[in-house]
């Protein structure tokens, strides 16, 4: 089962006090176990371009599709047996401590 994990910042930066896991260790662990298929950090939303086609015309706009304070700063594609395994992988990510992670299952 594949899950897209969106790595997001949090507008309520009430961060966890405990020691935050190391991101490089997290990547190494999950690459080794085969649970992390791909992933990367993303450049800030100010460099985003939104693309639509309306009336046959390509419309571009500068910036993200929704102006929110919470922004997606990265993503990982996970391959996990079930949601519990994906939750365990997400809960070990440093951004779970000072941001938030959204797990979205692949369709079908």
């Amino acid at each position: 089962m594949k899950y897209m994990m969106f790595v997001c910042t949090d507008t309520e930066p009430e961060t966890d006090e405990s020691i935050v896991p190391d991101i490089f260790q997290w990547v190494a662990d999950n690459d080794a176990s085969g649970r992390r298929v791909a992933g990367n950090q993303l450049v800030s939303p100010s460099s985003a371009t939104t693309v639509r086609v309306r009336g046959g015309e390509v419309l571009l706009s500068d910036g993200p599709f929704a102006e929110t304070k919470e922004v997606i700063v990265g993503f990982d594609i996970l391959e996990c047996a079930d949601l519990d395994e994906a939750i365990a992988v997400a809960a070990a990510h440093p951004m779970a401590y000072n941001g938030r992670l959204e797990l979205r299952p692949y369709h079908g």
Binding site: M1, A81, D82, L83, D84, I87, L103, P105, H107
Partner: protein, 377 residues
């Protein structure tokens, strides 16, 4: 006669494990129930009613799967249905179902509704009434929860080890919420019975978990007063004025027996001891106050602090309770302040406080009870 709701949950739980299809499992369980209601009065109850129901439901599932598709997966499911597993595995299915319905990735209300619908077989219309929504809205909510289980692949499994320690309180919280939905002034009394039934089942399935049996004891002790909590008009009767002969003394004995000698390992055991203190004549307030001192350390919520103030007010005099109320306002703090003020002998101030509490009460029965107290002064 077999316990039909119990069989319902058992069948649903096993068919979900075998087919992974929640809707199919529920439809087949319902059809088996309908067949029993039609045939048993005519042909007599079979020797093994639970087994009869399971066979009818399983055969129905095989029919549906065979007709619906020739896909490989469906055929595999049909094959699996012929081998439903060992008896112990079928017993475990109910625990799997409970843990899956109570998975923390589902919204809390959805967990309660799904548990009622699939484990206990409560009709959607009854669930909707308690949640104060229409039946179609409740159907959508339950359907959405089932879709998420399938789409996000929430595992059909009882967690083990540390994961079990983390997840069990969530399951107990769902049962507790279910119980309070039945116990609250404007609630659906049948839900309290349902919560007790599920807690009993969970106690059977997880006999080594002290908090599970403590929760059952808590339910039994609270529920023992159900016939004495209201007067003929449906108004709430305070504990000290209840007719003790109308308490369910068998339930009290069972609840106390569960608690005696059992370790106190969590909040439900502490609450059960508090409930047990209330079943003593006149309530054992010193003991109750002591348990609240423990509870406030593990659950420092406003509700616990307020109840602790009541207990101290009754155990050590109204001033002791009023001192612990400092800093609280609004409902129900004002109702407690009114009661302790009356106990302290300041009748005018107490009457005014009871009227203020009545104006802020969330339900009609509570409002009437508070106005009655004001009128007495």
């Amino acid at each position: 006669m077999t316990d039909l709701p119990d069989s319902y949950g058992r069948i649903v739980a096993t068919l979900i494990r075998l087919t992974g299809d929640w809707n199919l499992a529920e439809d087949c369980a319902q059809e088996a129930m309908a067949a029993a209601l039609e045939r048993w009065p005519r042909d007599g109850t079979p020797d093994n009613p639970g087994g009869w129901l399971m066979t009818v439901a399983r055969n129905r599932a095989i029919d549906v799967l065979r007709r619906s598709s020739v896909e490989q997966t469906k055929l595999r499911e049909v094959a699996m249905l012929f081998h439903p597993g060992e008896q112990h595995e079928i017993e475990d299915d109910r625990l799997r179902l409970i843990f899956t319905c109570c998975h923390p990735a589902l919204a809390l209300d959805a967990r309660v509704a799904l548990t009622l619908r699939t484990v206990a077989g409560v009709p959607t219309a009854d669930i909707a009434r308690v949640f104060l929504v229409g039946e179609s809205a409740m159907t959508r909510r339950i359907t959405r929860a089932k879709s998420k289980i399938t789409e996000a692949r929430i595992p059909y499994r009882v967690p083990e080890g540390q994961a079990l320690v983390e997840r069990l309180p969530g399951v107990l919280a769902v049962l507790y919420l279910l119980f309070t939905r039945g116990y609250d002034a404007d609630g659906e009394p049948a839900f309290a019975d349902e919560a007790i039934r599920l807690a009993r089942l969970l106690t059977t399935l997880m006999p080594a978990e002290p908090e599970v049996s403590a929760l059952l004891a808590l339910f039994l002790l609270q529920h023992s007063r159900r016939h004495a909590r209201r007067d003929a008009l449906g108004d709430l009767v305070p504990l000290d004025r209840q007719d003790r002969s109308r308490w369910d003394h068998a339930a009290i004995a069972e609840g106390r027996a569960i608690l005696s000698g059992a370790a106190v390992t969590g909040p439900y055991a502490v609450q059960a001891h508090i409930a047990a203190g209330h079943t003593a004549a006149g309530s054992d307030w010193v003991s109750i106050a002591g348990w609240y001192d423990q509870l406030v350390r593990i659950q420092p919520t406003p509700m616990v602090e307020l109840n602790r103030a009541v207990a101290h007010g009754y155990a050590y005099g109204p001033q002791a309770g009023l001192a612990l109320l400092a800093g609280f306002d609004g409902y129900p703090a004002v109702a407690i302040e009114a009661d302790l003020t009356a106990k302290a002998g300041d009748r005018d101030r107490a009457a005014a406080l009871f009227r203020a509490a009545a104006a802020a009460a969330p339900s009609e029965v509570e409002r009437r009870a508070l106005l009655a107290r004001a009128a007495e002064l």
